[in-house]
Symmetry: C2
Subunit: 332 residues, 2 copies
Protein backbone atom coordinates (compact mmCIF):
# COMPACT_ATOMS: atom_id res chain seq x y z
CA UNK A 1 0.00 0.00 0.00
CA UNK A 2 1.18 3.50 -0.88
CA UNK A 3 0.09 6.55 1.12
CA UNK A 4 0.52 10.25 0.49
CA UNK A 5 -0.65 13.61 1.76
CA UNK A 6 -2.17 16.44 -0.21
CA UNK A 7 -1.78 20.02 0.92
CA UNK A 8 -4.96 21.37 2.53
CA UNK A 9 -6.12 24.01 4.98
CA UNK A 10 -4.69 21.94 7.83
CA UNK A 11 -0.92 21.93 8.50
CA UNK A 12 -1.14 18.11 8.58
CA UNK A 13 -2.68 17.95 5.09
CA UNK A 14 -5.17 15.35 3.83
CA UNK A 15 -4.51 11.63 3.61
CA UNK A 16 -4.77 9.82 0.26
CA UNK A 17 -4.10 6.25 -0.88
CA UNK A 18 -2.01 6.13 -4.08
CA UNK A 19 -2.10 3.50 -6.81
CA UNK A 20 0.85 1.15 -7.25
CA UNK A 21 1.84 2.95 -10.48
CA UNK A 22 1.62 6.36 -8.73
CA UNK A 23 -0.89 7.61 -11.33
CA UNK A 24 -4.06 7.89 -9.25
CA UNK A 25 -5.00 8.68 -5.66
CA UNK A 26 -8.12 8.19 -3.57
CA UNK A 27 -9.09 10.54 -0.74
CA UNK A 28 -8.90 8.66 2.60
CA UNK A 29 -10.11 11.40 4.93
CA UNK A 30 -13.19 9.31 5.81
CA UNK A 31 -10.76 6.83 7.39
CA UNK A 32 -8.38 9.30 9.01
CA UNK A 33 -8.05 13.06 8.47
CA UNK A 34 -4.30 12.82 8.03
CA UNK A 35 -1.45 10.32 8.10
CA UNK A 36 -0.34 11.23 11.63
CA UNK A 37 -3.78 10.44 12.93
CA UNK A 38 -3.89 7.18 10.90
CA UNK A 39 -0.61 6.12 12.52
CA UNK A 40 -2.04 6.82 15.97
CA UNK A 41 -4.89 4.37 15.28
CA UNK A 42 -3.12 2.06 12.82
CA UNK A 43 -4.83 -1.24 13.76
CA UNK A 44 -8.19 0.34 12.88
CA UNK A 45 -7.04 2.53 9.99
CA UNK A 46 -4.76 0.07 8.16
CA UNK A 47 -7.34 -2.53 7.01
CA UNK A 48 -9.68 0.23 5.86
CA UNK A 49 -6.87 1.96 3.95
CA UNK A 50 -5.91 -1.36 2.35
CA UNK A 51 -9.52 -1.92 1.26
CA UNK A 52 -9.52 1.54 -0.34
CA UNK A 53 -6.17 0.80 -2.03
CA UNK A 54 -7.61 -2.42 -3.47
CA UNK A 55 -10.67 -0.56 -4.76
CA UNK A 56 -8.38 2.05 -6.36
CA UNK A 57 -6.32 -0.68 -8.12
CA UNK A 58 -9.55 -2.25 -9.44
CA UNK A 59 -10.66 1.13 -10.80
CA UNK A 60 -13.56 1.25 -8.36
CA UNK A 61 -12.92 4.78 -7.07
CA UNK A 62 -15.05 7.15 -9.13
CA UNK A 63 -13.45 10.45 -8.09
CA UNK A 64 -9.81 9.36 -8.23
CA UNK A 65 -7.23 12.15 -8.26
CA UNK A 66 -4.52 12.63 -10.93
CA UNK A 67 -1.59 12.10 -8.52
CA UNK A 68 1.32 13.45 -10.62
CA UNK A 69 -0.55 16.76 -10.92
CA UNK A 70 -1.83 16.92 -7.35
CA UNK A 71 -0.61 19.35 -4.69
CA UNK A 72 1.56 16.79 -2.94
CA UNK A 73 2.95 17.48 0.56
CA UNK A 74 5.45 15.25 2.37
CA UNK A 75 3.66 12.11 3.67
CA UNK A 76 3.99 13.68 7.13
CA UNK A 77 4.14 17.50 6.71
CA UNK A 78 5.14 17.61 10.36
CA UNK A 79 5.54 14.99 13.05
CA UNK A 80 6.56 14.64 16.68
CA UNK A 81 10.06 13.30 16.21
CA UNK A 82 12.73 12.89 13.51
CA UNK A 83 15.84 10.93 14.47
CA UNK A 84 18.47 10.46 11.83
CA UNK A 85 21.33 7.99 12.05
CA UNK A 86 24.61 7.65 10.20
CA UNK A 87 24.30 3.97 9.43
CA UNK A 88 26.64 3.59 6.46
CA UNK A 89 30.15 2.78 7.61
CA UNK A 90 31.81 3.85 4.37
CA UNK A 91 30.41 7.39 4.70
CA UNK A 92 31.86 7.79 8.18
CA UNK A 93 35.23 6.46 7.06
CA UNK A 94 35.41 8.73 4.03
CA UNK A 95 34.41 11.80 6.03
CA UNK A 96 36.76 10.98 8.87
CA UNK A 97 39.71 10.55 6.50
CA UNK A 98 39.04 13.80 4.64
CA UNK A 99 38.16 16.08 7.55
CA UNK A 100 40.45 14.51 10.17
CA UNK A 101 37.34 14.23 12.33
CA UNK A 102 36.55 10.67 13.23
CA UNK A 103 33.03 9.35 13.44
CA UNK A 104 33.27 8.03 16.99
CA UNK A 105 30.36 6.02 18.30
CA UNK A 106 29.26 6.94 21.82
CA UNK A 107 29.56 3.22 22.60
CA UNK A 108 31.55 0.82 20.41
CA UNK A 109 29.13 -0.89 18.06
CA UNK A 110 26.30 1.60 18.70
CA UNK A 111 24.80 3.61 15.87
CA UNK A 112 25.35 7.36 15.54
CA UNK A 113 22.09 9.34 15.64
CA UNK A 114 21.03 12.97 15.88
CA UNK A 115 17.65 14.58 16.40
CA UNK A 116 16.41 16.88 13.66
CA UNK A 117 13.60 19.39 13.28
CA UNK A 118 10.29 17.62 12.63
CA UNK A 119 7.90 20.55 12.64
CA UNK A 120 8.23 21.92 9.13
CA UNK A 121 9.08 19.37 6.42
CA UNK A 122 9.32 20.35 2.75
CA UNK A 123 7.28 18.69 -0.02
CA UNK A 124 8.97 16.38 -2.55
CA UNK A 125 8.53 18.82 -5.43
CA UNK A 126 8.62 22.04 -3.42
CA UNK A 127 11.52 24.47 -3.34
CA UNK A 128 13.79 24.12 -0.32
CA UNK A 129 14.20 27.61 1.24
CA UNK A 130 17.67 28.31 2.63
CA UNK A 131 19.36 31.38 4.12
CA UNK A 132 22.51 31.69 1.99
CA UNK A 133 24.35 30.16 -0.96
CA UNK A 134 27.57 30.65 1.03
CA UNK A 135 26.56 27.99 3.59
CA UNK A 136 27.70 24.97 1.54
CA UNK A 137 24.31 23.66 0.38
CA UNK A 138 24.21 19.91 0.01
CA UNK A 139 21.61 17.18 -0.51
CA UNK A 140 21.63 13.84 1.30
CA UNK A 141 19.68 10.91 -0.12
CA UNK A 142 18.44 8.63 2.65
CA UNK A 143 16.00 5.87 3.49
CA UNK A 144 13.57 6.54 6.35
CA UNK A 145 10.96 4.52 8.21
CA UNK A 146 7.87 5.67 10.08
CA UNK A 147 6.98 3.78 13.26
CA UNK A 148 3.89 3.48 15.41
CA UNK A 149 4.34 3.96 19.17
CA UNK A 150 7.55 2.25 20.35
CA UNK A 151 7.71 1.80 24.14
CA UNK A 152 10.98 2.62 25.91
CA UNK A 153 13.27 -0.41 26.04
CA UNK A 154 11.95 -2.14 22.90
CA UNK A 155 14.71 -4.53 21.76
CA UNK A 156 15.95 -4.80 18.17
CA UNK A 157 14.41 -8.29 17.99
CA UNK A 158 10.89 -6.87 18.03
CA UNK A 159 11.54 -3.39 16.65
CA UNK A 160 10.69 -4.13 12.99
CA UNK A 161 7.05 -4.84 13.96
CA UNK A 162 6.80 -1.11 14.56
CA UNK A 163 7.85 -0.13 11.03
CA UNK A 164 4.60 0.88 9.35
CA UNK A 165 5.96 2.85 6.38
CA UNK A 166 9.15 3.34 4.39
CA UNK A 167 10.07 6.45 2.35
CA UNK A 168 12.95 8.46 0.91
CA UNK A 169 14.43 11.61 2.41
CA UNK A 170 16.49 14.55 1.24
CA UNK A 171 18.20 15.52 4.48
CA UNK A 172 19.50 18.84 3.14
CA UNK A 173 22.61 20.10 4.91
CA UNK A 174 24.57 23.32 5.21
CA UNK A 175 28.15 22.05 5.26
CA UNK A 176 29.76 25.30 6.37
CA UNK A 177 28.30 24.68 9.81
CA UNK A 178 28.45 20.88 9.93
CA UNK A 179 32.00 20.22 11.14
CA UNK A 180 31.98 23.03 13.71
CA UNK A 181 28.60 22.03 15.13
CA UNK A 182 29.76 18.41 15.27
CA UNK A 183 32.86 19.51 17.16
CA UNK A 184 30.68 21.32 19.71
CA UNK A 185 29.17 17.93 20.51
CA UNK A 186 25.62 19.31 20.69
CA UNK A 187 24.57 18.03 17.25
CA UNK A 188 23.34 20.10 14.33
CA UNK A 189 21.08 23.14 14.40
CA UNK A 190 22.29 25.51 11.64
CA UNK A 191 23.64 22.64 9.53
CA UNK A 192 20.28 20.90 9.31
CA UNK A 193 17.49 22.95 7.75
CA UNK A 194 14.11 21.37 6.94
CA UNK A 195 14.11 17.85 5.52
CA UNK A 196 12.14 16.72 2.47
CA UNK A 197 10.47 13.34 1.91
CA UNK A 198 9.30 11.33 -1.10
CA UNK A 199 5.79 11.79 -2.55
CA UNK A 200 4.61 8.47 -1.12
CA UNK A 201 5.38 6.34 1.91
CA UNK A 202 4.86 2.62 1.38
CA UNK A 203 4.10 -0.31 3.67
CA UNK A 204 7.04 -2.76 3.89
CA UNK A 205 5.10 -5.51 2.02
CA UNK A 206 5.09 -3.20 -1.02
CA UNK A 207 8.89 -3.65 -1.20
CA UNK A 208 8.77 -7.44 -1.66
CA UNK A 209 12.02 -9.34 -1.19
CA UNK A 210 14.06 -6.13 -1.52
CA UNK A 211 13.02 -5.42 2.11
CA UNK A 212 14.89 -7.82 4.38
CA UNK A 213 17.04 -7.62 7.53
CA UNK A 214 15.49 -4.20 8.20
CA UNK A 215 17.12 -2.83 5.04
CA UNK A 216 16.00 -1.93 1.52
CA UNK A 217 18.32 -3.76 -0.88
CA UNK A 218 17.99 -1.46 -3.88
CA UNK A 219 20.09 1.34 -5.38
CA UNK A 220 18.97 4.90 -4.72
CA UNK A 221 19.29 7.02 -7.85
CA UNK A 222 20.59 10.51 -7.17
CA UNK A 223 20.80 13.15 -9.91
CA UNK A 224 22.00 16.75 -9.62
CA UNK A 225 20.70 19.17 -12.26
CA UNK A 226 19.65 16.23 -14.41
CA UNK A 227 23.04 14.49 -14.33
CA UNK A 228 23.59 11.16 -12.60
CA UNK A 229 25.44 11.70 -9.32
CA UNK A 230 25.34 8.31 -7.62
CA UNK A 231 23.40 5.08 -7.26
CA UNK A 232 24.56 3.61 -3.95
CA UNK A 233 22.66 0.59 -2.67
CA UNK A 234 20.63 1.28 0.47
CA UNK A 235 21.04 -2.36 1.54
CA UNK A 236 24.62 -1.76 2.64
CA UNK A 237 23.57 -0.23 6.00
CA UNK A 238 25.88 -1.30 8.82
CA UNK A 239 22.80 -1.36 11.07
CA UNK A 240 19.30 -2.46 10.16
CA UNK A 241 16.40 -0.20 11.05
CA UNK A 242 15.67 -2.59 13.96
CA UNK A 243 18.99 -1.54 15.52
CA UNK A 244 18.31 2.14 14.91
CA UNK A 245 14.83 1.94 16.46
CA UNK A 246 16.09 0.02 19.52
CA UNK A 247 18.90 2.57 19.92
CA UNK A 248 16.41 5.47 19.73
CA UNK A 249 14.06 3.86 22.26
CA UNK A 250 16.62 3.01 24.96
CA UNK A 251 15.61 5.85 27.29
CA UNK A 252 12.51 7.27 25.61
CA UNK A 253 9.16 6.22 24.17
CA UNK A 254 8.80 7.00 20.47
CA UNK A 255 5.41 8.47 19.58
CA UNK A 256 3.44 7.09 16.65
CA UNK A 257 4.65 8.97 13.58
CA UNK A 258 8.30 9.11 14.66
CA UNK A 259 10.60 9.01 11.61
CA UNK A 260 13.96 7.21 11.78
CA UNK A 261 16.47 7.91 9.01
CA UNK A 262 19.40 5.88 7.72
CA UNK A 263 21.79 8.76 7.17
CA UNK A 264 23.41 9.41 3.78
CA UNK A 265 23.48 6.26 1.71
CA UNK A 266 27.05 5.25 0.97
CA UNK A 267 28.79 2.18 -0.40
CA UNK A 268 32.28 0.81 0.13
CA UNK A 269 32.57 0.56 -3.66
CA UNK A 270 31.98 4.29 -4.04
CA UNK A 271 34.15 4.37 -7.16
CA UNK A 272 31.46 2.39 -9.00
CA UNK A 273 28.33 3.39 -7.09
CA UNK A 274 28.96 7.10 -6.57
CA UNK A 275 27.75 9.06 -3.58
CA UNK A 276 24.43 10.34 -2.25
CA UNK A 277 25.72 13.73 -1.07
CA UNK A 278 28.25 16.24 -2.34
CA UNK A 279 30.38 16.36 0.79
CA UNK A 280 31.21 12.66 0.42
CA UNK A 281 32.29 13.21 -3.18
CA UNK A 282 34.46 16.10 -2.00
CA UNK A 283 35.95 13.87 0.70
CA UNK A 284 36.85 11.28 -1.96
CA UNK A 285 38.41 14.03 -4.11
CA UNK A 286 40.46 15.23 -1.13
CA UNK A 287 41.69 11.70 -0.49
CA UNK A 288 42.47 10.98 -4.14
CA UNK A 289 43.61 14.36 -5.48
CA UNK A 290 44.49 16.30 -2.35
CA UNK A 291 41.71 18.86 -2.72
CA UNK A 292 37.95 18.97 -3.34
CA UNK A 293 36.93 19.71 -6.93
CA UNK A 294 33.14 19.59 -6.81
CA UNK A 295 31.42 22.73 -5.51
CA UNK A 296 28.32 22.76 -3.33
CA UNK A 297 24.91 23.66 -4.76
CA UNK A 298 23.90 27.08 -6.07
CA UNK A 299 20.43 28.56 -5.64
CA UNK A 300 18.26 27.19 -8.44
CA UNK A 301 20.10 23.85 -8.51
CA UNK A 302 17.90 20.77 -8.53
CA UNK A 303 18.29 17.37 -6.89
CA UNK A 304 16.34 14.23 -7.81
CA UNK A 305 16.20 11.15 -5.58
CA UNK A 306 14.35 7.99 -6.62
CA UNK A 307 14.29 4.20 -6.22
CA UNK A 308 13.09 1.84 -8.96
CA UNK A 309 11.80 -1.66 -8.27
CA UNK A 310 12.96 -4.76 -10.20
CA UNK A 311 10.50 -3.84 -12.98
CA UNK A 312 11.82 -0.30 -13.32
CA UNK A 313 8.76 1.20 -11.62
CA UNK A 314 9.33 4.12 -9.24
CA UNK A 315 8.49 2.91 -5.72
CA UNK A 316 8.23 6.12 -3.71
CA UNK A 317 7.94 8.62 -6.55
CA UNK A 318 10.85 11.02 -6.93
CA UNK A 319 11.97 13.82 -4.67
CA UNK A 320 12.73 16.47 -7.30
CA UNK A 321 13.33 19.92 -5.94
CA UNK A 322 15.31 23.13 -6.21
CA UNK A 323 17.33 24.81 -3.51
CA UNK A 324 16.34 28.48 -3.33
CA UNK A 325 16.81 31.62 -1.25
CA UNK A 326 14.46 31.84 1.74
CA UNK A 327 11.56 34.06 0.77
CA UNK A 328 11.60 33.03 -2.89
CA UNK A 329 10.33 29.45 -2.48
CA UNK A 330 7.25 28.30 -4.33
CA UNK A 331 5.35 25.30 -3.08
CA UNK A 332 5.51 23.22 -6.26
Amino acid sequence: MKLATLRSGSPDGELVVVSHDLERAARATDIAPNLLSALESWPIAEPRLRALAAALERGNVSDAIDFPNADVAPPLPRTWQWLDASAFKSHGELMGRAFKQDFIEAKPGAPLMYQGGSDDFVGPWADMPLPSEADGIDFEAELAVVVDRVPMGTPASSALEHVKLVMLANDASLRTFAAAEKKSGFGWIHAKPATSFSPVAVTPDELGTAWRDGRLHLPVRVAWNGRKFGRPNAGEMSFGFQDLIAHAAYSRNLSAGTIIGSGTISNADYATMGSACITERRAIEMAERGAPVTSYMSFGDRVRIEVLDYDGQSIFGAIDQRMVAAGSATSR
Copy 2:
Protein backbone atom coordinates in the same frame (compact mmCIF):
# COMPACT_ATOMS: atom_id res chain seq x y z
CA MET B 1 -1.78 35.24 32.85
CA LYS B 2 -1.02 31.67 33.91
CA LEU B 3 -1.96 28.70 31.73
CA ALA B 4 -1.90 24.98 32.40
CA THR B 5 -3.06 21.71 30.91
CA LEU B 6 -5.13 19.00 32.55
CA ARG B 7 -4.79 15.39 31.49
CA SER B 8 -7.71 14.26 29.31
CA GLY B 9 -8.58 11.70 26.68
CA SER B 10 -6.50 13.64 24.16
CA PRO B 11 -2.69 13.37 24.17
CA ASP B 12 -2.62 17.20 24.08
CA GLY B 13 -4.76 17.49 27.23
CA GLU B 14 -7.23 20.27 28.03
CA LEU B 15 -6.35 23.94 28.39
CA VAL B 16 -7.11 25.79 31.66
CA VAL B 17 -6.41 29.29 32.92
CA VAL B 18 -4.94 29.29 36.45
CA SER B 19 -5.34 31.95 39.13
CA HIS B 20 -2.36 34.08 40.11
CA ASP B 21 -2.13 32.23 43.45
CA LEU B 22 -2.24 28.83 41.68
CA GLU B 23 -5.28 27.76 43.76
CA ARG B 24 -8.03 27.70 41.13
CA ALA B 25 -8.35 26.97 37.43
CA ALA B 26 -10.99 27.66 34.81
CA ARG B 27 -11.57 25.39 31.83
CA ALA B 28 -10.63 27.22 28.61
CA THR B 29 -11.58 24.56 26.07
CA ASP B 30 -14.29 26.85 24.65
CA ILE B 31 -11.46 29.16 23.56
CA ALA B 32 -8.97 26.50 22.39
CA PRO B 33 -9.04 22.73 22.94
CA ASN B 34 -5.43 22.70 24.09
CA LEU B 35 -2.44 25.00 24.55
CA LEU B 36 -0.76 23.98 21.28
CA SER B 37 -3.85 25.00 19.37
CA ALA B 38 -4.09 28.28 21.36
CA LEU B 39 -0.49 29.10 20.39
CA GLU B 40 -1.31 28.48 16.74
CA SER B 41 -4.05 31.12 16.91
CA TRP B 42 -2.61 33.32 19.66
CA PRO B 43 -3.88 36.74 18.42
CA ILE B 44 -7.43 35.40 18.67
CA ALA B 45 -7.00 33.15 21.72
CA GLU B 46 -4.94 35.46 23.95
CA PRO B 47 -7.50 38.24 24.60
CA ARG B 48 -10.19 35.65 25.29
CA LEU B 49 -7.91 33.75 27.68
CA ARG B 50 -7.03 37.00 29.45
CA ALA B 51 -10.72 37.81 29.87
CA LEU B 52 -11.27 34.38 31.42
CA ALA B 53 -8.25 34.88 33.69
CA ALA B 54 -9.70 38.21 34.87
CA ALA B 55 -13.07 36.57 35.57
CA LEU B 56 -11.30 33.84 37.54
CA GLU B 57 -9.42 36.40 39.66
CA ARG B 58 -12.70 38.21 40.38
CA GLY B 59 -14.30 34.93 41.50
CA ASN B 60 -16.70 35.00 38.55
CA VAL B 61 -16.08 31.42 37.39
CA SER B 62 -18.72 29.21 38.99
CA ASP B 63 -17.21 25.80 38.25
CA ALA B 64 -13.57 26.65 39.06
CA ILE B 65 -11.25 23.67 39.55
CA ASP B 66 -9.13 23.01 42.66
CA PHE B 67 -5.77 23.34 40.84
CA PRO B 68 -3.40 21.79 43.43
CA ASN B 69 -5.53 18.62 43.35
CA ALA B 70 -6.14 18.54 39.62
CA ASP B 71 -4.63 16.00 37.20
CA VAL B 72 -1.99 18.40 35.90
CA ALA B 73 -0.04 17.59 32.72
CA PRO B 74 2.91 19.63 31.42
CA PRO B 75 1.61 22.88 29.84
CA LEU B 76 2.47 21.26 26.48
CA PRO B 77 2.27 17.45 26.91
CA ARG B 78 3.90 17.26 23.49
CA THR B 79 4.98 19.81 20.95
CA TRP B 80 6.69 20.06 17.57
CA GLN B 81 10.12 21.16 18.68
CA TRP B 82 12.26 21.40 21.83
CA LEU B 83 15.62 23.12 21.47
CA ASP B 84 17.76 23.40 24.57
CA ALA B 85 20.78 25.66 24.88
CA SER B 86 23.67 25.77 27.31
CA ALA B 87 23.50 29.48 28.03
CA PHE B 88 25.29 29.71 31.39
CA LYS B 89 29.00 30.25 30.91
CA SER B 90 29.95 29.07 34.41
CA HIS B 91 28.37 25.65 33.78
CA GLY B 92 30.41 25.11 30.63
CA GLU B 93 33.60 26.21 32.36
CA LEU B 94 33.06 23.95 35.38
CA MET B 95 32.21 20.94 33.20
CA GLY B 96 35.10 21.56 30.85
CA ARG B 97 37.59 21.79 33.71
CA ALA B 98 36.36 18.62 35.40
CA PHE B 99 35.87 16.40 32.37
CA LYS B 100 38.69 17.76 30.21
CA GLN B 101 36.08 18.26 27.53
CA ASP B 102 35.75 21.87 26.53
CA PHE B 103 32.44 23.43 25.67
CA ILE B 104 33.41 24.70 22.23
CA GLU B 105 30.95 26.91 20.42
CA ALA B 106 30.44 26.06 16.76
CA LYS B 107 31.15 29.73 16.06
CA PRO B 108 32.87 32.00 18.60
CA GLY B 109 30.19 33.88 20.47
CA ALA B 110 27.33 31.64 19.31
CA PRO B 111 25.19 29.74 21.81
CA LEU B 112 25.41 25.97 22.19
CA MET B 113 22.10 24.23 21.48
CA TYR B 114 20.84 20.68 21.04
CA GLN B 115 17.50 19.32 19.87
CA GLY B 116 15.62 17.12 22.33
CA GLY B 117 12.60 14.83 22.16
CA SER B 118 9.38 16.85 22.21
CA ASP B 119 6.82 14.09 21.74
CA ASP B 120 6.39 12.73 25.25
CA PHE B 121 6.90 15.23 28.07
CA VAL B 122 6.39 14.26 31.72
CA GLY B 123 4.00 16.07 34.08
CA PRO B 124 5.36 18.29 36.88
CA TRP B 125 4.23 15.90 39.63
CA ALA B 126 4.45 12.66 37.64
CA ASP B 127 7.14 10.03 38.09
CA MET B 128 9.96 10.20 35.54
CA PRO B 129 10.38 6.68 34.07
CA LEU B 130 13.98 5.71 33.32
CA PRO B 131 15.70 2.53 32.15
CA SER B 132 18.36 2.00 34.83
CA GLU B 133 19.75 3.41 38.07
CA ALA B 134 23.22 2.68 36.70
CA ASP B 135 22.90 5.38 34.02
CA GLY B 136 23.85 8.32 36.27
CA ILE B 137 20.41 9.88 36.79
CA ASP B 138 20.52 13.65 37.16
CA PHE B 139 18.08 16.55 37.22
CA GLU B 140 18.67 19.88 35.46
CA ALA B 141 16.70 22.94 36.52
CA GLU B 142 16.17 25.30 33.58
CA LEU B 143 14.12 28.19 32.33
CA ALA B 144 12.22 27.69 29.07
CA VAL B 145 10.16 29.88 26.78
CA VAL B 146 7.38 28.95 24.35
CA VAL B 147 7.23 30.87 21.08
CA ASP B 148 4.64 31.38 18.40
CA ARG B 149 5.75 30.85 14.78
CA VAL B 150 9.22 32.32 14.23
CA PRO B 151 10.12 32.73 10.55
CA MET B 152 13.58 31.67 9.40
CA GLY B 153 16.07 34.51 9.71
CA THR B 154 14.32 36.35 12.55
CA PRO B 155 16.99 38.55 14.21
CA ALA B 156 17.56 38.76 17.95
CA SER B 157 16.28 42.35 17.89
CA SER B 158 12.72 41.19 17.19
CA ALA B 159 12.85 37.67 18.66
CA LEU B 160 11.40 38.50 22.08
CA GLU B 161 8.07 39.47 20.47
CA HIS B 162 7.66 35.76 19.80
CA VAL B 163 7.97 34.73 23.47
CA LYS B 164 4.40 33.96 24.51
CA LEU B 165 5.03 31.93 27.66
CA VAL B 166 7.76 31.22 30.21
CA MET B 167 8.05 28.08 32.35
CA LEU B 168 10.48 25.86 34.29
CA ALA B 169 11.97 22.60 33.06
CA ASN B 170 13.56 19.55 34.58
CA ASP B 171 15.77 18.42 31.69
CA ALA B 172 16.55 15.02 33.23
CA SER B 173 19.84 13.54 32.06
CA LEU B 174 21.59 10.18 32.09
CA ARG B 175 25.19 11.18 32.72
CA THR B 176 26.75 7.82 31.90
CA PHE B 177 25.99 8.52 28.25
CA ALA B 178 26.44 12.29 28.20
CA ALA B 179 30.18 12.69 27.66
CA ALA B 180 30.44 9.87 25.12
CA GLU B 181 27.46 11.09 23.09
CA LYS B 182 28.89 14.62 23.20
CA LYS B 183 32.20 13.29 21.91
CA SER B 184 30.39 11.62 18.99
CA GLY B 185 29.29 15.12 17.96
CA PHE B 186 25.77 13.99 17.11
CA GLY B 187 24.19 15.36 20.31
CA TRP B 188 22.28 13.40 22.93
CA ILE B 189 19.87 10.54 22.42
CA HIS B 190 20.38 8.11 25.34
CA ALA B 191 21.53 10.89 27.69
CA LYS B 192 18.32 12.88 27.29
CA PRO B 193 15.15 11.05 28.30
CA ALA B 194 11.80 12.87 28.49
CA THR B 195 11.79 16.40 29.90
CA SER B 196 9.37 17.68 32.54
CA PHE B 197 7.87 21.18 32.80
CA SER B 198 6.33 23.27 35.56
CA PRO B 199 2.59 23.09 36.33
CA VAL B 200 1.93 26.47 34.74
CA ALA B 201 3.39 28.51 31.91
CA VAL B 202 3.04 32.27 32.36
CA THR B 203 2.95 35.22 30.00
CA PRO B 204 6.04 37.46 30.33
CA ASP B 205 4.00 40.36 31.84
CA GLU B 206 3.26 38.06 34.80
CA LEU B 207 6.98 38.25 35.68
CA GLY B 208 7.04 42.03 36.15
CA THR B 209 10.45 43.70 36.32
CA ALA B 210 12.16 40.35 36.98
CA TRP B 211 11.76 39.72 33.21
CA ARG B 212 14.19 41.95 31.35
CA ASP B 213 16.88 41.55 28.65
CA GLY B 214 15.22 38.25 27.69
CA ARG B 215 16.15 36.78 31.07
CA LEU B 216 14.33 36.01 34.33
CA HIS B 217 16.30 37.67 37.12
CA LEU B 218 15.25 35.42 39.99
CA PRO B 219 16.84 32.50 41.82
CA VAL B 220 15.59 29.02 40.95
CA ARG B 221 15.17 26.89 44.08
CA VAL B 222 16.32 23.33 43.62
CA ALA B 223 15.83 20.69 46.33
CA TRP B 224 16.82 17.01 46.25
CA ASN B 225 14.88 14.72 48.58
CA GLY B 226 13.66 17.73 50.53
CA ARG B 227 17.13 19.23 51.09
CA LYS B 228 18.22 22.49 49.51
CA PHE B 229 20.59 21.79 46.63
CA GLY B 230 21.05 25.17 44.96
CA ARG B 231 19.46 28.54 44.27
CA PRO B 232 21.31 29.90 41.23
CA ASN B 233 19.90 33.03 39.65
CA ALA B 234 18.45 32.48 36.18
CA GLY B 235 19.31 36.06 35.22
CA GLU B 236 22.99 35.19 34.80
CA MET B 237 22.45 33.74 31.31
CA SER B 238 25.33 34.61 28.95
CA PHE B 239 22.73 34.88 26.18
CA GLY B 240 19.21 36.23 26.46
CA PHE B 241 16.36 34.19 25.01
CA GLN B 242 16.35 36.62 22.04
CA ASP B 243 19.81 35.31 21.11
CA LEU B 244 18.77 31.69 21.56
CA ILE B 245 15.67 32.14 19.39
CA ALA B 246 17.60 33.94 16.64
CA HIS B 247 20.24 31.19 16.74
CA ALA B 248 17.57 28.48 16.45
CA ALA B 249 15.84 30.23 13.54
CA TYR B 250 18.90 30.88 11.36
CA SER B 251 18.15 28.10 8.87
CA ARG B 252 14.69 26.92 9.93
CA ASN B 253 11.23 28.24 10.75
CA LEU B 254 10.12 27.49 14.31
CA SER B 255 6.54 26.27 14.56
CA ALA B 256 4.15 27.81 17.08
CA GLY B 257 4.64 25.87 20.30
CA THR B 258 8.41 25.47 19.92
CA ILE B 259 10.10 25.43 23.33
CA ILE B 260 13.56 26.98 23.79
CA GLY B 261 15.48 26.09 26.97
CA SER B 262 18.25 27.93 28.80
CA GLY B 263 20.28 24.89 29.77
CA THR B 264 21.20 24.14 33.38
CA ILE B 265 21.11 27.29 35.45
CA SER B 266 24.54 28.06 36.85
CA ASN B 267 26.22 30.99 38.55
CA ALA B 268 29.84 32.10 38.67
CA ASP B 269 29.44 32.35 42.46
CA TYR B 270 28.53 28.66 42.69
CA ALA B 271 30.06 28.45 46.15
CA THR B 272 27.23 30.64 47.50
CA MET B 273 24.44 29.86 45.03
CA GLY B 274 24.89 26.10 44.61
CA SER B 275 24.11 24.23 41.41
CA ALA B 276 21.01 23.18 39.49
CA CYS B 277 22.24 19.71 38.54
CA ILE B 278 24.32 17.01 40.25
CA THR B 279 26.98 16.74 37.57
CA GLU B 280 27.99 20.36 38.10
CA ARG B 281 28.33 19.77 41.84
CA ARG B 282 30.48 16.71 41.05
CA ALA B 283 32.59 18.81 38.69
CA ILE B 284 33.17 21.34 41.50
CA GLU B 285 34.12 18.51 43.87
CA MET B 286 36.57 17.14 41.32
CA ALA B 287 38.15 20.58 40.95
CA GLU B 288 38.28 21.24 44.68
CA ARG B 289 38.92 17.82 46.18
CA GLY B 290 40.22 15.78 43.25
CA ALA B 291 37.24 13.42 43.08
CA PRO B 292 33.45 13.60 43.01
CA VAL B 293 31.71 12.95 46.33
CA THR B 294 28.02 13.35 45.52
CA SER B 295 26.36 10.33 43.90
CA TYR B 296 23.73 10.53 41.19
CA MET B 297 20.05 9.87 41.96
CA SER B 298 18.57 6.55 43.04
CA PHE B 299 15.14 5.33 41.96
CA GLY B 300 12.61 6.86 44.32
CA ASP B 301 14.63 10.06 44.76
CA ARG B 302 12.70 13.28 44.39
CA VAL B 303 13.61 16.65 42.87
CA ARG B 304 11.76 19.93 43.43
CA ILE B 305 12.27 23.00 41.23
CA GLU B 306 10.50 26.28 41.94
CA VAL B 307 10.77 30.06 41.56
CA LEU B 308 9.26 32.52 44.05
CA ASP B 309 8.38 36.10 43.17
CA TYR B 310 9.40 39.12 45.29
CA ASP B 311 6.41 38.40 47.56
CA GLY B 312 7.38 34.77 48.12
CA GLN B 313 4.57 33.49 45.87
CA SER B 314 5.37 30.52 43.61
CA ILE B 315 5.27 31.78 40.03
CA PHE B 316 5.16 28.59 37.97
CA GLY B 317 4.17 26.11 40.69
CA ALA B 318 6.79 23.50 41.58
CA ILE B 319 8.10 20.63 39.54
CA ASP B 320 8.17 17.96 42.25
CA GLN B 321 8.75 14.46 41.00
CA ARG B 322 10.41 11.11 41.62
CA MET B 323 12.79 9.27 39.32
CA VAL B 324 11.57 5.68 38.94
CA ALA B 325 12.19 2.51 36.96
CA ALA B 326 10.42 2.44 33.58
CA GLY B 327 7.24 0.41 33.98
CA SER B 328 6.68 1.48 37.59
CA ALA B 329 5.77 5.13 36.99
CA THR B 330 2.48 6.51 38.24
CA SER B 331 1.05 9.62 36.66
CA ARG B 332 0.80 11.71 39.83
